[in-house]
Subunit: 341 residues, 2 copies
């Protein structure tokens, strides 16, 4: 009978209380992990919950308490795998804190809200009464408007909501690591493929700064203003046309590097013998055998952990750091080598 489809009423705290032989207030205390409950009573209640296959109603919890115990996360697009490690890190900390995560993507919005992108996502989160928001994309105006709950921005963005804390990888340091790696290999003609957004801007600035510091001339190209595969292809083609003596390409991210690889091949060059190629992000594609891309790991899992901790701290009313930087790390694979010739 245990497997009878539960067309029957779901168990409530009344049922649990009756079964455990305690008051319903006590069950509520157990649900909230109150320290005021004795171990034996807690066990009795927990046993009853298991026996009745009890699961608290999120709707009732949210409506009765002021908190919903869920945190919203906005990402740009499920296709940009940037966010996967971040999510893992967030869950690692949020889960044990009793907080659930709900993710929405800007790209999936209904066309009706095109006038105010991000509006539908925010409305959904307000309707769900999220306790806090993690913004893991370039904020739209709707995301910049204060909504009455704490906001933590993950990653370097070109704009930030007032009062939001920012947790991000140190993109400047990461780009410096990348460029220094190429310099150490002996490269002197290093070009950069850049795109749009806050992180790209920081990577570009660091690239230019390091080259200037060592007395070399930066050479930058972009594609169509974004950071996708076609942008990388187009930007690399421009570099190869304008400066055929380039020996190393530093792409703004791994996806752009994938596009760049096609352009390099078309120019009759091999990676890394004829051209070194650096990515950024250490996304899943970087590990594919066709690329084996040397790249910079942003440590987004750690960014996620710290962003989650910041959320937890703010919900507890503690003061939090307005800005936290996580150190990136060089990931050596097979796409970089000393310059040709």
């Amino acid at each position: 009978m245990a497997d009878r489809p539960r067309a029957t009423r779901r168990a409530t705290i009344y049922d649990v209380a009756a079964r455990a032989g305690v008051s319903k207030s006590l069950v509520s205390l157990v649900l909230q992990n109150s320290p005021k409950v004795s171990a034996e009573r807690r066990q009795a209640v927990e046993a009853a919950m298991v026996e009745l296959d009890y699961r608290p109603s999120r709707a009732a919890t949210a409506l009765a308490g002021s908190r919903s115990r869920t945190i919203g996360v906005v990402i740009d697009d499920f296709r940009n795998l940037w966010f996967v490690d971040l999510l893992d890190g967030l869950r690692e900390v949020l889960g044990p804190a009793g907080l659930t995560l709900t993710v929405a993507d800007l790209a999936g919005e209904s066309a009706s809200s095109e006038a105010d992108p991000g509006r539908a996502v925010i409305d959904g989160f307000v309707a769900s009464a999220v306790d806090a928001l993690v913004v893991a994309c370039e904020p739209t105006p709707a995301l910049l408007r204060p909504q009455g709950f704490p906001v933590v921005v993950a990653g370097n963005r070109s704009a930030t909501p007032p009062d939001a804390a920012v947790v991000s990888s140190d993109d400047s340091a990461g780009a410096e690591i990348a460029v220094r790696h190429l310099l150490d290999l002996g490269h002197r003609r290093i070009a950069h493929l850049t795109g749009g957004g806050g992180a790209s801007a920081l990577r570009l600035a660091a690239y230019e700064r390091v080259l200037h510091d060592v007395g070399l001339t930066p050479h930058v190209a972009s594609g169509f203003g974004r950071t996708n595969e076609p942008d990388g292809y187009e930007a690399a083609r421009r570099i190869l046309r304008e400066a055929p003596d380039t020996t190393a390409l530093f792409a703004g991210n791994d996806t752009m590097a994938l596009g760049a690889l096609a352009a390099i091949r078309e120019a009759g060059l091999d990676v890394p013998a004829g051209m070194s190629l650096m990515g950024f992000d250490n996304s899943p594609i970087a590990d594919a055998r066709i690329l084996r891309l040397t790249t910079v790991d942003s440590e987004n899992r750690e960014v996620g952990r710290r962003a989650a901790q910041t959320v937890v701290d703010r919900l507890a009313g503690a003061r939090v750091h307005r800005r936290q930087l996580v150190s990136p790390r060089l990931v050596l694979r097979d796409s970089t080598a000393p310059p040709r010739g």
Copy 2:
């Protein structure tokens, strides 16, 4: 003052009713899109909602009504981009029907539920009181247990919950299209790279059937039992070692094809001059310039639309088809050509 941070109380239907000069029952009727409301009163209520920046509380709606108006979707892993088009299709139909979508991934589960994978996801959906569930992954035992709400399975799976409706791409037809395309180009030595799961099994069976029909010998290899890039690489290496006269490789999906490309290059062959390569899924990677992969589009957006319609119909109490197949479509790019020599 309109932009004053809403530390103030959120508007409720009482506020809206007062502002619009109607009863709160009427506001409730408007929220439910009832046809009993006159156009002018509806407009008055809607105007009041905009003025007060009113957004209904999902918690209250869910608790008071029997329905939460949200549909759960379980996917395998955010890294497999399979689900992106599916999600778009689901939203296209669910949105206008007033239903919201919430997605959870099996891979993101806390380690504590490893004993019963999918359990945490299901518990979350039960707690949220989803109205229905869309299973877009290979179901775990937890996902196969009836929970009291309708289930629609998207895609071909090796197991299906009792009473679930299944909407999927016609993987047999898709594999047949792929193999016939290679045959039409003149290939006679066509190998197949296969992986795990229900869709893979159907694609494999169709491949073998078509080859037998035309009197050719199938040649199949797999990697490590999954369908990822390393599996494709490993499977392709086996084929190239065991049967160097192979002229075309039909990969179980695009990600495996990406791995296969690396093996083909290592063997000193070019695509498509020395080896034709077919994928399956038409995932974002297939369009990358480095691959330009001829593949089969599963029309997952259409699968999503139909799955959503099936959910809507079941919620309305209508009878639904237990099994629906969507026709796939050949996508020609540059990775296939007549056989070498």
